[in-house]
Symmetry: C2
């Protein structure tokens, strides 16, 4: 009962009174077939409800028109919005999108490559920040398909990356704080290892320097980008009693930690302290006070990444190795003018 046998190209050919080759051409290269013939074929297709069998086509053409998306956590809120962009662009160009949730598990990552090596996918979008395990190193033979990284660049490789311009975004954010009158601005989220954190810190420094403010190293605090790290950094600050008027956080999760900490200490935000985030994740508008932050153009990132990948797949030479999109300042209620003291 599964499928009542579907119409094939032969059925269409028989009805239209032509050969299967002509049917194929009528579909794929309409100019190469006479008007009258094309008409008859169209009619036959309509009558049979024919759809070309994608498997047969892929087998013959050696391309599946499918893109595999490898992500460590599909549940990540950051993921879904980029996914919409990826999917939209792919669909627009006749490609399908396959999801691979790796959970940072090497075995699962390797497993997903079966889609590549079995010709089920033509290209790869990487959210993982590294080349898939089990390729290159492992088999050795199986070559990697065209790839584009998103969310996190792939270190030590020439995989093109599409993402937000962290340096510029951070600079804009910090400039916004400065424009509100802040001069003692903390940076929460210093990191030796995370490239994203470093870029954002550089943007912060550039903004301060541009305004003639000298950076106070006691206002630069470590953080790994988690909510907990934001909380800890804030507590640390109060213990040392070197206080800023504004907190520039490496991301929204960190900012949340800062806000929680400040709220717990019964400070009135943003009157007593300003907090600025980065990312504009979904809860940013729900915290109290709602978070002023830099919005990542996630939809656009997805579209751009897919566009880049498909262009490569269709033979265009690689345009750019890195596409950086501008983050947008979203003004909400967590930033105000510093009070005079």
């Amino acid at each position: 009962m599964q499928h009542q046998k579907l119409a094939t190209i032969e059925d269409v050919a028989a009805i239209a009174g032509v050969s299967i080759a002509t049917v194929s051409r009528a579909i794929n290269e309409p100019t190469k077939v006479a008007d009258e013939t094309r008409r008859r074929v169209s009619e036959a297709i309509a009558r049979t409800g024919y759809t070309t069998n994608a498997m047969a086509r892929s087998l013959r053409m050696r391309r599946s028109k499918m893109i595999l998306i490898l992500a460590p956590d599909v549940g990540d809120p950051n993921f879904s919005n980029i996914l919409v962009g990826l999917e939209t662009e792919a669909s627009k160009r006749g490609y399908g999108v396959l999801i691979g949730n790796t959970q940072n598990d090497a075995a699962r990552e390797t497993d997903y490559l079966r889609f590549i090596s079995s010709n089920q996918a033509d290209g790869l979008i990487l959210f993982t920040g590294h080349l898939p395990y089990g390729f290159g190193s492992d088999g050795g033979e199986s070559r990697l398909p065209p790839m584009v990284a998103v969310n996190e660049p792939v270190s030590d490789s020439d995989v093109p990356f599409v993402g937000v311009d962290n340096f510029e975004g951070a600079r804009i954010a910090a400039e916004h704080l400065i424009s509100q009158g802040h001069r003692r601005i903390a940076f929460i989220g210093h990191s030796r290892s995370r490239a994203v954190n470093q870029l954002r810190e550089q943007g912060y420094r550039a903004a301060l320097q541009g305004a003639g403010i000298v950076v106070d190293p006691r206002l630069i605090l470590d953080g790994d980008g988690t909510t907990e790290s934001g909380r800890q950094a804030t507590e640390h600050m109060f213990v040392r009693d070197v206080l800023p008027t504004a907190f520039f956080c490496v991301n929204d999760a960190t900012a949340l930690g800062v806000i929680i900490s400040l709220n717990a200490r019964r400070y009135d935000l943003p009157r007593e302290f300003s907090v600025m985030g980065f990312d504009d994740i979904s809860f940013a508008s729900f915290v109290s006070p709602s978070l002023t932050t830099m919005k990542q153009p996630r939809l656009k990132i997805g579209e751009e990444a897919m566009d880049l990948l498909l262009a490569r797949l269709e033979g265009e030479p690689l345009r750019r190795k890195e596409v950086l999109l501008r983050a947008e300042l979203i003004v909400r209620n967590s930033v105000g003018r510093p009070r005079r003291d």
Copy 2:
């Protein structure tokens, strides 16, 4: 340069010194081939790095081992968590997962069916709440593949549904409020058309009835489940000056509206009013006060739905037409004991 020609089953056969039929059997039905032969084949496979070409296999087998997921909005936070479950279970059973973002656009929906009619997907998961446009009604011939609905049942159809037990969950939620001492409990989100709202309202009514509380119709307010509707209902309540001690909201989005409205009126929550949500969407823990709510077992819903679908695909008769999973009470800070007045 695309793919340096991959090893085929023939290459393996040649190296192992057997026919391709034997190689195929060695892979798919190992018991049917002699130990020694199997060993030789395995070795040849290892040496060539052979992977079976999924396209050829699908073509021959007439099944792709792919599941298409049709969702109106892939960016919806509700979506991604269910997706993880779907994906996990599918992957465990050797299936792949294809994403179709329809944006409630009939044309896109129809478009995605090409994956079905071209044999690129064997089954369908529906987030949309209705049968895909352009099938059944339209072509007439093309039959629908096995399907399972999730998130929203498909009305007027026999598509099996996997979801949360709304009635039972709402009853538990309302009972929690009652156990805290509330007796004047409002229900925000009455709806003539939405099945989910109705079930939750019934659960609410059942709990009140069970506790011998008579439902005050003035405390039942309309709402379509949006944040704005929650805000409006609350304002409406204050205008009419018939006040509850607790608000039971049809979902978290509505609860957020209620909280915003109460916060704006400078009430101290949960001392003066309690608010209960339903769903446990991601921001629920970030609002202030953090929201006490019923958690949908989203991961489990995804797994269960995929399991049901794959079972059908593999020929098992349909087990159940509806699978309802229990929601879990998550106690946070938006519910307290009513103050005495």
